[in-house]
């Protein structure tokens, strides 16, 4: 009985130490995502054992020289476009179909996807790959653009479910997520201001016209 009591007491002491340990556990600070998160990918070819890697634009210095040059060229082309829909005709048509003005399209993310750990001799090409990403801005998703050899192509068949987008491509390089950034409707403003301003404008113009006419009449009286 004494032994049982000692074992029980020891167990309680160990448990209480653990509880104080839990109480002191540190919860780290969150960090933001600089690029969408790679959720899953699936190569068409079952011979391909490559892995995919996403690189945020801000981390482009970690890419190969060619990769860095490509993503920087992609960035420049987006920044210099007055209208994102001008980057690709299919994107422009898609925006029109959705009733979105080209000038209200915006690129929310620009990132590179590349292949790693691929033994190049194992197969002729990677073939198609279906990629699933999660991103923060997919509630207003319009499309994905793929930067290939200096030109933008619209990735067809991209589908969104919640905060994930799935698409299939047969090559990898910079990608951009395009969203509808139409500004929110303004809060219900008191439009009485506009009516008052228009009324004041109209009355003052009419009064000015009358004054000019009166001025001329007085001059002609002279």
């Amino acid at each position: 009985m004494k032994k049982v009591f000692i074992v029980l007491l020891s167990a309680i002491m160990i448990a209480s130490l653990s509880v104080s340990g839990f109480a002191a556990s540190f919860v780290s600070s969150p960090s933001g995502n600089k690029a969408p998160t790679l959720v899953s990918y699936d190569f068409e070819s079952d011979q391909c054992n490559a892995t995919l890697k996403i690189t945020a634009y801000s981390d482009r210095n970690t890419l190969s020289a060619d990769g860095k040059a490509a993503i920087e060229a992609a960035y420049t082309s987006i920044k210099s476009a007055n209208d994102v829909s001008s980057l690709n005709a299919d994107l422009a048509a898609l925006a029109t179909d959705k009733g979105i003005k080209g000038t209200n399209l915006a690129v929310s993310d620009l990132f590179d996807i590349s292949v790693e750990n691929c033994e190049a001799t194992a197969h002729a090409s990677h073939g198609k790959v279906t990629i699933k990403l999660s991103a923060e801005t997919l509630s207003d998703f319009v499309g994905i653009l793929h930067y290939v050899n200096g030109n933008w192509e619209l990735v067809t068949g991209a589908t969104v479910s919640g905060d994930e987008v799935t698409f299939t491509v047969d090559s990898l390089s910079p990608f951009a997520i395009v969203v509808d950034a139409t500004p929110d409707s303004p809060p219900t403003k008191d439009n009485g201001n506009i009516y008052i301003l228009v009324a004041v404008a109209a009355l003052s113009l009419a009064a000015a016209a009358i004054c000019f006419k009166m001025s001329r009449r007085e001059e002609s009286t002279n």
Binding site: S29, G32, K34, L110, P186, V198, A208
Partner: protein, 332 residues
């Protein structure tokens, strides 16, 4: 005495010119209104209500107030200032809103918990808003170029948190600026509130010491390894440190040895602000002359979310804080 026709003609002409000017102004304003309505380009900061009622009492928004937000970053100067990317990995680890009442000559500080769950604008490649997300307000700084754009995004998030109160100006400082400024004022004396054994053995709980150099940063920044590693506990130390820092700063400013000038020359590398040096000087003069009221903090609930700490401020506490800082009882 009859007015001559020539004079009448002249008066009519003057009147016509004035009326034309009125027409141009009102027409322009009407066009701006119509354009804004069409394009939805209202300032993203929601407009605050001028008149409110809280707990049965009517309040009116104070006039002649200005806000200044100090943002402490979790990165050093070496981690770079403004980047050439549209997002970055810096966070607003410390956020303090100073509400200056220029009529009453008071300053009301509002200390915002970095873990406060808030609506944050997501910024796209062009720095424009492409969506919103609800997460810890510290992460508002991630969006943008890590400099002025990110500061603006944090101000926007703070404004939305505080019921649309306008945030006028900002100053962000990298964390390695803390020991520099600390030493510039000759060190800051505090009674050590927590046990730093194993982290910095010079910081002995209960002892009153003058923090110098890295000690100051350790004291205001450390969480991991302390008995209470929450941000709330850290905020208590930060509030204590800031009160003492302010007192030392005022001492130095009133010392008349061109201290204000030395602040800007020493700290310029560590700070980003939308205010010029001259305007910062004006602000500093106000800080020196005005009376500081008690620091306000939002009350609410802290809990661990999926992985990280999340602080949910109580709606009534937000309103109470906003009323205390921005409103006065209405005469009506």
């Amino acid at each position: 005495m009859r007015v001559s026709s020539t004079k009448k003609s002249r008066y009519y002409k003057y009147a016509a010119i004035v009326l034309l000017a009125v027409f141009l102004v009102s027409f322009s304003l009407a066009m701006i209104n119509i354009w804004e309505n069409k394009n939805g380009r209202y300032p993203d900061q929601t407009s605050a209500d001028k008149n409110i009622e809280y707990n049965g009492v009517k309040y009116k928004l104070k006039d002649n107030i200005e806000t200044f937000v100090v943002i402490g970053l979790d990165k050093t100067l070496e981690d770079g200032g403004e980047s050439d990317a549209y997002n970055n990995d810096k966070q607003a680890d410390f956020i303090m809103v100073f509400v200056l009442d220029n009529k009453e000559k008071t300053v009301t500080p509002i200390h915002i918990n970095r873990d406060t769950m808030a609506e944050i604008n997501i910024l796209g490649l062009s720095g424009n808003k492409v969506g919103t997300v609800n997460k810890q307000i510290a992460l508002s700084y991630n969006y943008g170029n890590g400099g002025k754009v990110s500061c603006g995004n944090t101000l926007n998030a703070v404004s939305k948190l505080l019921n649309g109160m306008k945030m006028d100006h900002y100053l962000s400082v990298t964390m390695d600026g803390v020991p520099v400024y600390n030493d510039l004022v000759g060190g800051v004396t505090v009674e050590v509130l927590d046990d730093f054994t194993g982290i910095d053995d010079t910081l002995v709980k209960g002892q009153r010491i003058t923090l110098m150099g890295q000690q100051a940063l350790t004291y205001v920044r450390t969480r991991e390894g302390l008995e209470d590693s929450t941000n709330l506990a850290r905020m208590v130390r930060q509030k204590q440190y800031l009160t003492a820092l302010r007192e030392k700063t005022m001492e130095k400013l009133n010392g008349g040895d061109k201290f204000a000038e030395s602040i800007f020359t020493t700290m310029s590398d560590y700070i980003i602000s939308d205010l010029s040096v001259n305007r910062l000087q004006v602000l500093l003069d106000k800080f020196s002359a005005y009376e500081f009221t008690e620091t306000l903090e939002l009350e609410g609930e802290s809990k661990v979310g999926e992985k990280f700490m999340e602080f949910y401020p109580d709606g009534d506490s937000i309103t109470k804080t906003v009323v205390n800082a921005f409103y006065r009882e209405s005469d009506e």
